[in-house]
């Protein structure tokens, strides 16, 4: 399913917030959901490691995650 903008988490610049819309990688999405990444969740991009990968993000509260750029590319989001 390709939306008009098909923005992924990998495109979100540092400091911006985005909302999860859907996933492109089903097995990975199951893991992400366990980590609290369900559709509708609001994500803030905290930083990119040098060379752009991995990406560090935070969810509600003081909850931080890191994931590789290739993983971020499978998460469809919209800017908030």
């Amino acid at each position: 399913m390709v939306t008009e903008t098909h923005l992924t988490l990998a495109d979100i610049p540092k400091g911006s917030k985005a909302e999860v819309i859907g996933f492109h990688d089903i097995p990975l999405s199951l893991r992400l959901m366990e980590l609290g990444f369900a559709p509708g969740a609001e994500i803030k991009v905290d930083c990119h490691a040098p060379l752009g990968c991995p990406v560090c993000i935070s969810l509600d509260g003081d909850y931080h995650l890191t994931l590789r750029k290739s993983e971020a590319e499978t998460i469809e989001v919209k800017l908030v």
Binding site: G36, D46, H64
Partner: protein, 698 residues
């Protein structure tokens, strides 16, 4: 009675385990898998004791790594010897939504649960107020407030365990059981004689991971799932989403969130520690301090142990009658035990510092900083810790590779870590470098000897990267794994936790690796203390007639060296001489190579024995002088010329000359396959590299 401790990683589960059980814990294995099981005992009432099993931290009962699979395998099998009577699910109150997922799933497997609310203080700081009474009434099971770090609320938890074991209360929420699934669940329940619907669906969804079912049943279940077009991924997805909805409802009633989100302390620290430039500068600074500390701090207790073993040997040898048995005890057993003990300070200090880095949360940031750089070499960011520790000692380094979830990444890390030059190689490097490289400065500031030493470390480091890259191409892994992981918030290290980690690692080293080192030391002693035929048995007579003019000490040295030459080890040395000759070594170096297999630093000791320096083995100057004098009878030039010395240096950069490392790889990979492959590839690499070096420089 068995109580399972379950919870997400970083939920404070291990702290709670230590608080409840103290030192009354032991490490075992879960049947059939390679995951450590921590068991402890706890008195929940003056006359009631329960067994507490600390399960690996997991986000759900759908495992993502082998560690997590244990949780599913035990909880889905009521016949398992580890199946709990009760589960305490520890949840982090700052992130209840995610933490409650596991609680819900475990409850639906019909296991009575207690919800232990941890980190309420941090939650309050974030403006999250949890009403535990309300939660208990909504969930229908006991909800206990604890502070695992400080050990607060333990009595309440113990009481709750006691009551819950007397009269079990359950929480049920099989909201995913709509009609489609319930019909199928009934079918499985009937066929496999189980009572729980959620368990039945787990049979269908994850039959491949339930080894206890047996191959036949696993196959049947897979066919059943296929015949009913049951999609495990969709089922899991439904399970998770519907549970989140239900949890959301509970939390809406029992949790009040106030205040707006401010930038937290963790975010402020991360801005510096994950900075493009400062992040790396700080990381290198931390590394530098770590090494300085390990070397500086460990050297004192190591000297004490060394001196203590020396004292003990001296005392025993004056006490015991002179006999073969005494020799075995002194040179075999005590020397072997000493070889184990001498490593303890380094292992302990390295682990104290590493566990402080881990406890504080900094180690996860190192993983972020290094992941991209190291990934192309078949490892992950998590491999950085073992590789760094490997420069002190490969034994604790390989043990620390456990934090790597992916088996392939972990295996490659274990396989290449011994290529990092460890502290034990330092005596060999320094002695040989001092032998052939003049003390001069390059560019006015850098010592030539120091530069060469650094070159050897770099050679080891780059060959570790290249080997990792090659293994990445060769090894195939079916296990799909993800990098995505939690970055825990920064915390003050819990000293008790640091203590337990170090205690456990040291204990493991002493009892697991120590046994093997001891055995090898005894075998080596036998081989170098006995020999076939007249030459060995009449060594005293032969040598004393040959060198009649020497004083007692010199004569004793000559006898010792003659005996070694004719011992089994000596014969073996000459037997392998043709093999090592192309590397520029003679049989004497050959013996040192063999004996140094117990540990590399034995090389220097053996060389000093062979070149008959006798008791003053630690005096470098004498060894150096002796080695310098040694001639090569074929060429008439010095034995340790540039070519032979360089070849030896290169050999020791690559060679797997360390019993302790092999023993620990055996333990970590639970078999002889990988240590043998490691021994093979590193020996081949050492041989080839030494061969090329010698032939080029000859």
């Amino acid at each position: 009675m068995k109580v399972a401790l379950l919870g997400n990683p970083n939920s404070g589960k291990s702290s709670l385990f230590n608080q409840l059980t103290g030192l009354r814990q032991k490490i075992g294995n879960f049947p059939g898998v390679t995951v450590d099981k921590k068991i402890g005992f706890c008195k929940i009432k003056s006359n009631v004791e329960v067994e507490i099993i600390d399960f690996p931290g997991t986000y759900s009962i759908y495992p993502g790594s082998l560690d997590e699979q244990v949780v599913l395998e035990v909880l889905a099998n009521p016949d398992s010897p580890d199946y709990p009577d009760l589960a305490v699910v520890v949840v982090d109150a700052t992130n209840l939504k995610r933490n409650m997922l596991l609680f819900e799933q475990v409850s639906d497997l019909n296991i009575p649960c207690i919800l232990a609310l941890n980190m309420l203080d941090s939650a309050l700081d974030l403006g999250i107020e949890v009403n535990s009474m309300k939660m208990a009434s909504l969930l229908g099971v006991p909800v206990v407030e604890i502070n695992a770090r400080e050990g607060i609320g333990l009595e309440g938890l113990k009481l709750a365990i006691f009551k819950q074991l007397e009269k079990r209360e359950y929480h049920h929420n099989v909201s995913i059981l709509d009609e489609e699934y319930s019909l199928l669940a009934d079918k499985v329940k009937e066929e496999y004689d189980i009572k729980n619907s959620y368990l039945a669906l787990q049979y269908l969804a994850q039959s491949q991971k339930l080894a206890f079912l047996g191959f036949e049943k696993q196959k049947e279940l897979q066919q059943l799932a296929k015949a009913n077009s049951f999609d495990p991924d969709r089922f899991q997805s439904n399970d998770t989403i519907k549970r989140y909805a239900d949890i959301g409802g509970t939390l809406a009633e029992a949790v009040r969130t106030t205040g707006v989100k401010k930038e937290t302390v963790t975010e402020k620290i991360d801005r510096v520690l994950l900075h493009t430039v400062w992040g790396y500068v700080i990381f290198i600074g931390v590394l530098f301090l770590l090494f300085q500390a390990v070397f500086a701090l460990a050297s004192y207790p190591q000297d004490w142990i060394d001196a203590g073993i020396g004292e003990l040997t001296g005392w025993l040898s004056s006490l015991l009658p002179e006999s073969k048995l005494t020799d075995l005890l002194l040179d075999g057993v005590i020397a072997g035990v000493g070889g184990v003990l001498i490593f303890i300070p380094q292992i302990a200090f390295l682990f104290i510092l590493i566990s402080i880095l881990e406890e504080s949360g900094y180690m996860s940031r190192v993983v972020v900083l290094m992941d991209r750089l190291i990934r192309r070499f078949g490892m992950s960011g998590r491999s950085v810790v073992p590789l760094i520790s490997g420069m002190a000692c490969a034994v604790p380094a390989i043990m620390s590779a456990r934090t790597i979830g992916n088996w392939k990444d972990r295996l490659i890390t274990i396989m290449v870590t011994p290529l990092m030059s460890c502290a034990a190689r330092l005596p060999i490097y320094t002695i040989i470098i001092a032998l052939v490289v003049p003390e001069q400065k390059v560019l006015g500031v850098f010592g030539l000897q120091g530069l060469l030493l650094m070159g050897l470390y770099l050679l080891g480091f780059f060959s570790a990267l290249i080997s990792g890259w090659l293994m990445k191409l060769i090894l195939k892994s079916k296990e799909r794994s993800y990098f995505v992981m939690e970055l825990p918030t920064y915390k003050r290290p819990r000293w008790s936790q640091v203590f337990y980690t170090v205690y456990e690692k040291v204990k493991t080293f002493v009892f697991e690796a120590g046994r093997v080192i001891l055995a090898i030391s005894i075998v080596l002693w036998v081989l170098s203390s006995y020999g076939p035929g007249e030459d060995f048995n009449k060594a005293e007579e032969i040598v004393s007639t040959q060198f009649s003019g020497l004083d007692d000490v010199q004569l004793e040295n000559e006898i010792a060296s003659y005996k070694l030459e004719n011992s089994y080890a000596g014969h073996f040395g000459r037997f392998i001489e043709p093999v090592i000759k192309p590397l520029g070594y003679d049989w004497k170096i050959g013996i040192a190579l063999i004996t140094s297999f117990a540990a590399r630093e034995v090389f220097v000791g053996t060389m000093s024995t062979i070149y008959s320096i006798g008791s003053s083995a630690d005096d470098e100057r004498t060894i150096k002088a002796r080695l310098k004098k040694e001639m090569n009878p074929e060429t008439g030039k010095a034995r340790f010329d540039i070519a032979t010395s360089a070849s030896l240096l290169v050999f020791y950069v690559f060679a797997m000359m360390c019993m302790s490392t092999l023993a620990v790889v055996y333990r970590e990979t639970k078999g002889w396959k990988w240590p043998m492959i490691q021994l093979g590839y590193m020996t081949a690499l050492a041989y080839l590299a030494a061969f090329v070096t010698y032939q080029l420089l000859k």
